[in-house]
Subunit: 334 residues, 2 copies
């Protein structure tokens, strides 16, 4: 366990979280720090402590697993954070994908703080293609509307590559991450008008208007809104868990992490082949070459480059962030 | 069989297509005309005749079906057009989705001319959620690049609604349909600079430059490009069929329909429920209400409204289009 993992786990255990759940969360946090994604790293502990203080987190919950169909693994997180539930379900997801060609992992009743790449990347590393979706809090309006309906609703996808880190993308179906708008508000800076709307539904450059009485916008116009809708339908309605609007209502003003479900679908390339499995990966490599030969980066290249540096030189964490987390740790409910 | 279906089938049979394949294609064409989508209607017969004249279409091919895994239906179209292969595979796809919770239909070696909504809508009408992807011809460059890699790579999704037509979206991951750029070229009109790039990779308003030495652009910047990549990986590499670049190379300048594969994934809401199946659909209806209550349309509303009119008043087809098709029918290879 790295120093970052140990610190993150100890902070959560100080608030009463059981060791197994804290260790799983800490692993996700350390991976984000390693890949230079600080917005999903230690910083998230502040929001998690706030979420815990809201009183609804299952701190000692043990995820339970069921198999409602041959192709479905269902894990109930019992209001714990998602990483332990993912760890409990992923091995059976892979087993089922191998047996059936494809399978779905459904996690229900989980608090969610992490980036989705952390859930598709291990599956792709193990040789599977994987697609993941989860709602968030209801902050994003459909184009032409003025009230929030969707969450930032990320979609993540992973694809295995022989001898290389997997192809992975993970993006919000909102125009931009909510944290990005928050940063602009704190800095007193205007935002591009595509990022959100005011209370009357008009594009605005005022981050405060977007975050309070207005709403965030989807990326890519009506197409992004269609994808955001799909994420609500697949990651909430299909699996029988909260939509983003329901998650925000459940939060009841605490400002905590979303509580809902998620779906991860895994595909076994060997199951889809006609005995020509390796050719699949070769054809994909041809596609990647056609992209990178134009000096265009693949979505996770920046993350993987940062990882190399971290593995060589270690990860530096701002001292004031550690101090802020320690203060929050020592003053529950403040 | 409607008048439109009978006409479309007769045109194709005049060129040697077997009755079953011609009837399946004609059904897709008639559905597009009924829903006021003329770009995927009778107009497509002109391109199909050109494709047939290229000499590679399996006009009398009978699709063959296999089951490589419990969750996978694989249909080889043997170079026929896709609709018959879809019709052969869809019933078993639904059966497998019921048994396993989810299942995939893979169609290989098919010429493709149709909109994907026509493939997810029947599944959603039968009570399944469905997601479909297919490559096309390599016409679309990644953002920051200057050479085509992707096709227009549509993604379609369907969701069942009790007592209503399903929620369905179907959109290209390119900024716009290629036909739209063609129309601007014919009319001598400039296009918005987001639609494509010139040979040097710069945004251009010249439709001819995009269609010849340049490339089309993806929608939504790098996020649209990520989705376009996923469509190539899932609809080509995973299933062991042509990428969009390979499809264009196979066309060898004929200007015919793409030849490749497609993947359709079906999900049975009952399999994902915890015995609360109807609640799933109720939660989805709450989501749709939150959208339409803002006077925002759902993606297929226009199509369904047009359908109502067609079912009441019939469909009007331009006489000059019929004449053009009849001329093409009677002069093979010209």
């Amino acid at each position: 366990m790295s120093e970052i993992e140990a610190f993150a786990a100890s902070v959560l255990m100080a608030r009463g979280m059981a060791r197994a759940q804290a260790a799983a969360v800490a692993g996700f946090i350390a991976a984000a720090e390693r890949d230079a994604c600080p917005s999903h790293g230690l910083y998230r502990l502040l929001g998690m402590l706030r979420t815990i203080d809201g009183g609804k987190v299952g701190l000692t919950a043990e995820p339970t697993l069921s198999e409602p169909r041959a192709g479905i693994v269902a894990v109930d997180a019992h209001y714990g954070f998602s990483p332990l539930a993912y760890a409990v379900g992923a091995p059976l997801l892979m087993e089922k994908a191998k047996a059936n060609g494809l399978a779905a992992l459904v996690i229900r009743n989980c608090f969610h703080f992490s980036a989705l790449w952390a859930e598709v990347e291990p599956l792709a590393e193990a040789g599977f293609a994987a697609l993941a979706m989860t709602p968030s809090h209801g902050w994003v309006a459909p184009p032409g509307g003025k009230r929030p309906v969707f969450g930032t609703n990320p979609i993540a996808f992973g694809w295995p590559r022989a001898g290389k880190p997997p192809y992975v993308f993970d993006f919000a179906t909102s125009a931009v991450a909510r944290g990005e708008i928050e940063l602009h508000r704190r800095a007193g800076k205007p935002v591009p008008p595509e990022w959100g709307i005011d209370a009357d539904g008009y594009p605005t450059t005022d981050p405060a208007a977007i975050l309070t009485t207005g709403a965030m916008s989807t990326f890519g116009g009506y197409k992004g809104a269609a994808l955001a809708t799909m994420v609500e339908l697949m990651g909430a309605a299909l699996i029988g868990d909260f939509t983003s609007l329901e998650s925000l209502a459940f939060d009841a003003g605490v400002g905590g992490a979303p509580m809902h479900g998620e779906i991860v679908i895994a595909f076994d390339p060997a199951g889809f082949s006609r005995g020509d499995g390796p050719d699949h990966l070769g054809r994909a490599e041809g596609l990647f070459a056609a992209i990178v030969d134009q000096e265009v980066r693949l979505p996770s290249d920046r993350r993987y480059a940062a990882r190399q540096v971290s593995l060589r030189d270690g990860v530096r964490v701002p001292e004031n962030l550690i101090a802020e987390i320690e203060t929050a740790r020592d003053r529950p409910g403040v």
